[in-house]
């Protein structure tokens, strides 16, 4: 066929056929190269974190994608289609002014009113010097207990919201905890200190966009109630039908107490894992 083969002569058939064939091959090849190039660009421009988070968000069941205003009882039903990023939500201000009507229950967990909560079960507490302290909330703390090992970011690391902030290992399960805010790590603690990170926010601490995406006040109650319901369903014994809650309090060190549970799924759902 090609030059160099004995007896080969170009014909119009060769030209048309080979042009078409190589155009198709080139298109396929260009598609793969383009996808690889775009992937590299996303990592270079820090778009990868957001893409990964959005992909994980899209995998969440609808029951886990409830809008904060529904959790607070400001609206009857609303599904978030904004990856929990209220900073970019056009409806945020419209609903935020409505009165919260969610009933308040005692869940036996300490969720302080001076903190802001990320749905990946971290809290953020503002300090007077404009920095923020970040820790695991009580539900996550009771679930994990004492982790077997922790891998913290180095001081100076720039974190994007929803990026993996630190990793823990417990009973062979890897837990990736998502960063609740954008900013630079200026201090590293651990489970014994009661906090994990100190962060200097990218925007000013007084900027309303810094913390807007985090839950607070009555939203936390609504969110926690649903999280507890999910946990009850996931941790019930196999072949046991769902039952009404008996008013008990979440015990500490659940991962040690129920080693046979499907922790890979429970942890992924709790910490909004991939």
């Amino acid at each position: 066929m090609f030059p160099g083969i004995d007896g080969f002569h170009w014909t119009i058939g060769h030209v048309v056929f080979l042009s078409l064939f190589f155009a198709v091959v080139a298109t396929i090849f260009a598609t793969v190269v383009s996808a690889a190039w775009r992937t590299a660009r996303d990592f270079r421009t820090n778009q990868a974190v957001e893409l990964c988070w959005k992909s994980s968000f899209a995998e969440l069941p609808e029951s886990d994608r409830r809008c904060r205003h529904e959790l607070a009882g400001r609206v009857i039903s609303r599904t978030c289609d904004n990856a929990f990023d209220c900073r970019r939500c056009s409806k945020y201000s419209q609903f935020a002014v409505l009165p919260a009507r969610a009933p308040v229950h005692s869940l036996g967990l300490n969720y302080s009113g001076d903190r802001f909560y990320h749905r990946g079960h971290t809290w953020v507490k503002p300090a007077e010097d404009g920095t923020f302290t970040v820790g695991l909330d009580e539900l996550a703390d009771r679930l994990v207990g004492n982790p077997d090992s922790i891998e913290m970011p180095e001081v100076g690391t720039e974190l994007e919201v929803n990026q993996t902030a630190w990793c823990m290992k417990k009973n062979g399960n890897e837990i990736q905890v998502r960063a609740p805010i954008d900013g630079a790590v200026i201090g590293v603690g651990g489970s014994k200190q009661g906090w994990y990170l100190k962060i200097r926010p990218r925007l000013s601490s007084s900027d309303p966009l810094t913390l807007r995406h985090l839950l607070r006040g009555p939203e936390v109650q609504g969110w926690l109630t649903r999280e507890m319901e999910r946990l009850q369903l996931q941790l019930r014994s196999p072949n046991t039908p769902p039952a009404l809650a008996d008013g008990g309090v979440l015990m500490p060190g659940l991962m040690d107490a129920l080693p046979e549970a499907d922790w890979d799924t429970v942890l992924a759902d709790t910490f909004l894992g991939a």
Binding site: G13, F21, S55, L60
Partner: protein, 420 residues
Amino acid sequence: MASAVFSDSRWIARGEERTSLSRFLFWLAPWAIVLVVGIYAAGLCLYYGLNQTNMDNRFAFGLWIFLDLGIIALGAGAFFTGFLVYILKRSELRPILNTAVVVGFICYSGAVAILMIDVGQPLRAWFTFWHPNTHSMLTEVTFCISCYLLVLCLEYVPILLRSRQLRKLPSLLVFEHQLHKLVPVLAGVGTLLSFFHQGSLGGLYGVLRGRPFAFRTGFFIWPSTFFLFILSAIASGPSFLMLVAATVEKVTGRRFVPQELFRRLGFISGVLLALYVAGKSIDTLIWLNFTSPSEGFAPWQYYSHKPFGTPILFAEIVLFGLLPAFLLTYRRSAARRGWLLSAAALACAGVLLNRFVLTVQTLAVPTLAFDEFLQYTPSWQEVASFAGVIAYGVIVYSLSYRYLPLFAPSRGENTHVSGD
């Protein structure tokens, strides 16, 4: 016990329920045995040559080519669904898209594998690319099928990368996202390639002047079988997808595909099948009255050899064509799942019968005065290779169903993020 010691629950999509690993392995075991026997038989053919088969110079196309033509036609659901979803924006077909890609991948990879054996000298397979006969329909088929298998692999990759453990790797997740965004390009290329290779597979029979049973006139360089093959493939593809989805639902005892989607697929299949039956009927009338007599053959002599009597022609056009076309499109029958799936099965059987007739009857009926009616029975090696491809398909589909999001979205509404 296997599931107690080894658990694959970490690989099963979150929120999805699957049977225990031991039961799954028990299901796979017989198919694996068939596959191993098939690989052994294929190995014999590759090592000792095609004398392991019952084909010869006269009966050069046998069970394998029938299998190739059949599964390539049934696998047309992959390109056609992709075309409908990505090019015509029929997003209601999305729930069946992943399964269409996997079915297409299985069909085409199985077909290429069997072709590699059928060529007889696989070490010279590259000759077809280096020394192509640009006047041959088969060259077009070879090029298009090779490229389309590559396209199907690339369409399969995003599904593979969304498995529970692979999606934990950010680089793969982002690549999957970017590749998925470019899938419409692949869908367009796949449509072009499929159009030509489905057509050329039919065309290569239609240009056989020496085989007047298959020879047809047509349009420009393309005989009528070129267009009939395309039509019958895109008509049976959606029906085959319905059958696959319904079988999975039956085996697993769960519902994945809304009844409305079944009806939609059935309607698409039915309308295309009706067009095919119309085209096939006109083509048959032209062939009976003009093409065959002009070649010096009384057409009814082709049907004087048992078992290839006129009932086969009747079955092909009416029983497996007109009847399922009616059942798939008529509102009352399409509303009943049993009727719908029975009609889909008839449509698939029809396309298989058509490929069988064009492959086997074409070669069996005598052409020259001294020819005799030939009978061909495949050797066990041919049958085992054939069964091996079927087992390969079942195994790949079973693994894909167990570990990949074939019937997504089942958890979230949108499994792909929008925006760049």
